[in-house]
Symmetry: C2
Amino acid sequence: MKFKTIKAFGLTALFLVLSDAAFAQQYEPLLLLSKSEAKNISQHLGDYKILEKSFSKVKKGADKALESKIEVPVPVDNGGGYTHEKHKKNYRELYYAGLTFQVTGEKKYAKFVEEMLLEYAKIYPGLPLHPKRKAEQNSGKLFWQGLNDCVWLVHGIQAYDLVKESIDPKNREIIERDVFRSMAAFLSESEGGKDTFNKIHNHGTWSVAAVGMTGYVLGDKDMVDRALYGSAKDKKTGFLKQIDMLFSPDGYYSEGPYYQRYALQPFMVFAEAINRNQPDLKIFDYRNQLLKKASNTVLQLTDANGYFFPINDALKEKNYMTEELVFATNIVFENYNDASVLPVIQQQNEVSITGAGLKSSEAVNGLKKQEFVKNPMIIADGPEGKSGGLALFRMHTKKKDEQLTAVFKFASQGMGHGHFDRLGILLFNNDKEILQDYGAARFLNVESKSGGRYLDENKTWAQTSVAHNTVIVDEKSHYDGNWKEAEKQAPKTIFSDVSAPEKIQIASASEANAYPGVEMQRTVALVGADTPFIIDVFSLKSKENHQYDLNFMFRGHIMETDFKYEPALTSLSPLGKDNGYQHLWKLAEAKGNQGLSKFTWLNDSRFYTISTLTDDTNNLVLTRLGANDPNFNLRNESGYMVRTKDKKNYTFVSIIEPHGSFDPKLESVQDPHSKVETIQILKQDENYTVVLVTFKNKKSYTLAFSNKEAKSDSKHKVSINGKNMEWRGNYTLITN
Amino acid sequence: MKFKTIKAFGLTALFLVLSDAAFAQQYEPLLLLSKSEAKNISQHLGDYKILEKSFSKVKKGADKALESKIEVPVPVDNGGGYTHEKHKKNYRELYYAGLTFQVTGEKKYAKFVEEMLLEYAKIYPGLPLHPKRKAEQNSGKLFWQGLNDCVWLVHGIQAYDLVKESIDPKNREIIERDVFRSMAAFLSESEGGKDTFNKIHNHGTWSVAAVGMTGYVLGDKDMVDRALYGSAKDKKTGFLKQIDMLFSPDGYYSEGPYYQRYALQPFMVFAEAINRNQPDLKIFDYRNQLLKKASNTVLQLTDANGYFFPINDALKEKNYMTEELVFATNIVFENYNDASVLPVIQQQNEVSITGAGLKSSEAVNGLKKQEFVKNPMIIADGPEGKSGGLALFRMHTKKKDEQLTAVFKFASQGMGHGHFDRLGILLFNNDKEILQDYGAARFLNVESKSGGRYLDENKTWAQTSVAHNTVIVDEKSHYDGNWKEAEKQAPKTIFSDVSAPEKIQIASASEANAYPGVEMQRTVALVGADTPFIIDVFSLKSKENHQYDLNFMFRGHIMETDFKYEPALTSLSPLGKDNGYQHLWKLAEAKGNQGLSKFTWLNDSRFYTISTLTDDTNNLVLTRLGANDPNFNLRNESGYMVRTKDKKNYTFVSIIEPHGSFDPKLESVQDPHSKVETIQILKQDENYTVVLVTFKNKKSYTLAFSNKEAKSDSKHKVSINGKNMEWRGNYTLITN
């Protein structure tokens, strides 16, 4: 109504002029929760269970906060330390109290926010850079890194927005000057702060969201414009540029799903604030509704329990139940009316106390429990969708409620948090990791573990190539472990197809720059069968001799091998000197069998076998993580490696096969042995690869594919043992 | 009604005489499900959800069986192999089809049982001992061990009992002669079979249950009497003697909860059959209602998810949802009308298709969901309750729904499946193992792992003392690893008290025979506090010098130590040569601090610290399991050891303390550091021990106790630094 006009811009002057008590009463929240929405929420608490539960949590948090003495300590501690945790607690309490004030109308909550902000106003302007800052990270004042200060501000400004109406002009002035303007200036105009503010990076997104939202609340158009268009307002940086650059057209975020989750909060929350204050920007339509795709894609990049695939620097404990995704799903539903996210909101069983949360509560109220549909998909990476991508293969088995998910990653580096995992794969059985990514080496906020920051082993192990399920050449990481070099090149998608998902889901990609003079190509197919299996063809081409290591970090207990190995019984040594190899104890070594070498492990209720085409020039190595780990920072995970030495061109062909079952409750075991009988390369030349897999029941699968990009309707012909094989498109699978 | 009379005994002759078709129609099931109960079940399927679900599973199993061709293969395979699994499947199908026939009345199910039994009749009498039998185990014919043949018979005879009415006399004769009599004779009268039949051991229980139930169905009083009173009918062996000898008066089964679960099925099922056929025996009242106590005690010996404490040879995958316990809870409810088991039946969400299952279904129908109450308790071991025991300490923390459980084991050996774990402790946080027992080294029925039998590492690791949380003297297992010697001696309970469970739960026990000339005494107390903690005082006395190792097999990730250790970075060696030490890689070693040495790890959402009184003559050793394990049979678990050398008398005093929290979803960490400030031994002499623990918040706890058994009202006085301390009873705890 009449406040709509106040939300429009160009009113900065008016704000400055009208700083009298009469106007003070007129302020209404501008960001994520309007006055009428708050009223609506308070009226519908009894009607919508999910809303009641969510608000009750917020109110409980606020009530608990009000019971204690306000404390705003001078920052001294690392992540996990007292002052660090206290300032985090404070911004949460500010936010909860602000929300509770708007919904209940009880002044005491607003008073709490006001008082705490006045305490911050006392210390903030005088604070130096944080004493625990690190050279390689932009320092905050409240926290060891500026990022956390931005998160503080995103919450703090919302809290202030929610209670501003009840604060008298004098205190408003103090708070705005000594907390919000001071903080916004530090975060966007100080030396380090400005750099981050203009970064195309999740830290940049938190920064522009914090400053931009502050701009709306303070009525400071300059702040908002800088947040949207960069410090120079030239659109080379800032929020819109971040949307352009950090996501692929399919909504994939270059740092990977873990950081996508984290960045989505400022992206979605700031977008919501923009939309409410500058609807003409049509931010939710920006770049073909990119924000909707970004949210939906990250929801797809999860296992059966909603845990994000631990690609790049990722902690495995995060799933889409986290607060960031609660904001995101609610905002997606509100702005796109996209019912596909409702099953996730049901699972989250929580909504944000925002206008979006209110709409979401209405929508799920009384809705029958639905399953969130996860489909096979190919997700392109890169701002233009041309920097490789990810293939998500998903197939149900005949076992009830069992879905296999294979992830084939041929995406770009993902900046400093990226891992050297070109052409790596992951395998999940529902929520169980079968072939795993270590994720990040970090105990978030645990002071005893390097102050909760990334551990040294994140670089020396977690990011290395050998920590992944891919090929390592000459015991070096891809791009020699230099992410800035790696950032310049992305793998190339040769072809992909998930159009007949019950029969086959397949992708082929190449990487020609990870090692000078070595071309890598991997073709991965999840093939439909009673129990689906993976055909994995990894080819290497070079003019020089190299050592090629195909590594698998498996999870589970070793059951059997069909090759005879020498176990290291009474003494262990590391597998290598550097690039992650120094962290692997060598447990056993074997020569490959002539023909097939099989390695079987048990994970939960299934057996898994990797059968690889080998001969006696191959070495097979069993490893365990933990060497050169003086602080016991690493988890002791297990690896199986197929190695070949002194080779120019070489192709690893493997079948990765779930089989049988192990039910210790029923004491029943089925098919503990692999069913693969033979693997053959029928043909391999510059243009084509043809492999044949035969199972013990004599069922066979011939997979033929082009090694080069081809049109989907192009005709191909290869001659095998005098017989012609013809097909259309990039590949064919023949089942007999 | 008229069949009641047939159930009485002395009618064997009648059965043999009346084998004509007219009589054939008159047979009614005698064992666990009467004709009228079956009818009742069929009428109430729609009324009781749990019954419908349970029967539907049975019927589905039966229907699936009827679809396939009956196959009764000549036995050749090990556990997990084809014929092994097939014969297991067959007895289950027989049983399911039998039940389905009685409930639905459909003849095809009876026909299936008849036909399959006729197939067994063709091969059984001619079968030799199983080709995969082991020298140390009694061989079966259908399976590699006789035990499985007994399990077959327990199911097979029930199936026959259920369908016998529909089988014509000629086929009855064939089946009874060539299957049931032949099998019962083999299991109770052949050379190896008779030995097992007369064993006071779970194998013996399965055997007498199988043969005894067969006796009822065949009307063979001799079989029944031998089952009840032993082959010689002198009551020196047999079912009643097993009830006398295998359980303590508190219902503790000497082999431990894992085998208690397993043995309970024949105990309860046979008891039910006895009660229906010889009610005068009052079997459920036998030995002060021992069978009720046995069932209830095993339900208490579980973690928060109902998983059995993995004491002795135990697999960790078993909880009280297993079929054995479904029979047990149902039978307990039916015969004792004991409502305390109803919450477990609710959790099981399944009933047996028996008269007992029917009664249980009625009872839980419409019942509000209840929690199964688990209390602190002291459970005496030994047939007379004088062979030590187990202390179960349970305390809630201030964290919602968090219960700590400490298990202190001073029980007897538990025969061949017993571990050398005298005075060992375990710690659980709800269902999380914090200080663990390895359980058994075995992959049940997994052919690739030694045919699914106990692995060699069960003896070389799992049963050894160093695999447990106790003291090891001179790197040898208790009783030098000889279970027959260990069987002769039990620890002694000095005192125990759980009468003020919010304040303190405490037990003290001694073991004077595990090592010649060494007296061991351990006193363990779970002390009430904001976060409860354990005081652990382990004293050793000897006239000779020894090495004493106090070992903790912890679960979780090492967070920090307050002592400086030398890590083994590039080379690992085993900690010792034998008795389990050969399986431990030595990861790091340190000298003890003067005063306290602290070791902290993270498990799930909690930190845990062991603070031990040390000086620089102590060695602190970090270990990981996995050395000398050529077949990768062992899980790679972690140990922390406090060692002292060349000592005659020595006392380890430790505080085991859960603290803080780790919430990676909220990214919040609290109190990652231990709060213990000092530990002191204020006094220790022949009669008394007094220890003082002070926390950083200056709160202190003084625990004083008698080292010798005393009357609960006896008066004690010790002088500490000139001050007198007086108390009544075995111990006192003073909090300041």
